[in-house]
Symmetry: D2
Subunit: 145 residues, 4 copies
């Protein structure tokens, strides 16, 4: 069980960014050459990784963040604590990769909007940090249905 405050847990933040970076080589983006990887921490303390996967039918493409989250749910996780994202054109990591709107929406299904955080990282020491509510304010969530 992960019971720390992720906002102050620099070790975990570094670890998430490093785990995302390790997976970046597996990104499958033959059409855009825009490669992304993500690592997602759940309340069990387990970390799940994902990469973007593009399809020849472009609309079937999945982002790295959702790939990691969906896999975690399949493993029985339900409560998302943090997501780290790395990437860029040709895996260069020279920009801060922010999540697209669709990924922010899926984070909203499993994360607490005030406490869940997203790290958009160049390196383990150089990242932007946002809460989910900062990225998807005035959001539509599961409580509506």
């Amino acid at each position: 069980m992960y019971d720390k405050d992720i906002r102050n847990d620099e070790d975990m933040k570094r670890r998430l960014i490093e785990m995302a970076k390790e997976k970046l080589q597996n990104s499958y983006a033959p059409y855009s050459n825009y490669n992304v990887a993500a690592a997602a921490l759940f309340d069990s303390g387990n970390i799940y990784t994902g990469v973007n996967v593009e399809s020849a039918s472009l609309g079937m493409t999945i982002c790295a963040e959702r790939n990691a989250i969906f896999h975690a749910i399949a493993e029985g996780e339900r409560k998302l604590i943090a997501v780290a994202i790395v990437g860029g054109t040709n895996r260069e990591c020279n920009e801060y990769c922010v999540p697209c709107g669709a990924c922010r929406q899926v984070m909203r299904d499993f994360g607490d909007k005030e406490s869940m955080i997203v790290l958009s990282a160049k390196t383990p020491d150089d990242y932007l940090e946002h809460t989910l509510d900062e990225l998807l304010p005035y959001s539509f969530g599961p409580e509506k249905l």
Copy 2:
């Protein structure tokens, strides 16, 4: 050509909300019974409407906002000025329907993040108004690819 400042154009805002309301009966949401309609103004001055359409393969579902925007693009539009959204469970319109993250992302493809606005409306006189940048801050857009 629409050349007014939508922020101050109360007549147009009312018209968008009314046009969305008129289409709400066509919403196809047999699985969730959560019905939504949208009207989108483009810089030509033309308004395009859409509703949510659910598929038996739920992931193939489209929201009202994207339905309206995608149709407008097919008609040759490229510059989005404003979107009005109405709806709720069983078409009741007793809540402010905010756009999901995926729709915010597609708005970002065609709207200016500072000036484009989204109206989440109960009635033509009762609505929330947000700029795209307020709904999708720190966004990922077409300039990245």
Copy 3:
């Protein structure tokens, strides 16, 4: 009301293909340069058109066929009779554009699998014709939910 047998209605097939071709210029595919347009006939006798629209978040991309169908549903249609598809790299129409699996699935929501047809066309006189059941056999449809 359209009450002919589309399988034998060569005039309508030509018209659908021509209407798709007319919209192809509006295809928005800046990332793949693979441009597609579609025209969909519903049982009202009305024809609706669509193009593919790509998003910077590639997974938010929509195909031409679904764009046309979703717009028709928003206009109150519910029964799909036929879809014509044209396109190719740089709008060249020198191949037969078959629908992707996602579009075949959405056709299944609104079309009869035995009688609905798909035309993958190069010209109004040169096309492949398939029933929905030929394109999506052993399908999963709305009767399951």
Copy 4:
């Protein structure tokens, strides 16, 4: 490395179906109560599992098959050999779950259309077996882009 002919490998088919069944409890389908799980074999011999995950924004929903495949790609796999699918309303497994069109399309990105197989199973001994080409004939694949 998996070097057998999956068509004749009854042990592997049973194992795939059993592994899918074990994950079915993790399916997250609060809106449809239609629960599905899948297990995907790649040419490394490794098996990856997934479940369907529904989002409050229904269009962000992912199917079990794509969840399993996308995770495998993130782990470095590229060549899909077989997918087993189980499920149904309230996890009952009393029907043969065939893949939706979108999942068939993503299988086409990574599977050989003649040799890749899909098992739609009720039990390890009671299943339908199809090649990808039988499920998605006249398909659109990566060779087009």
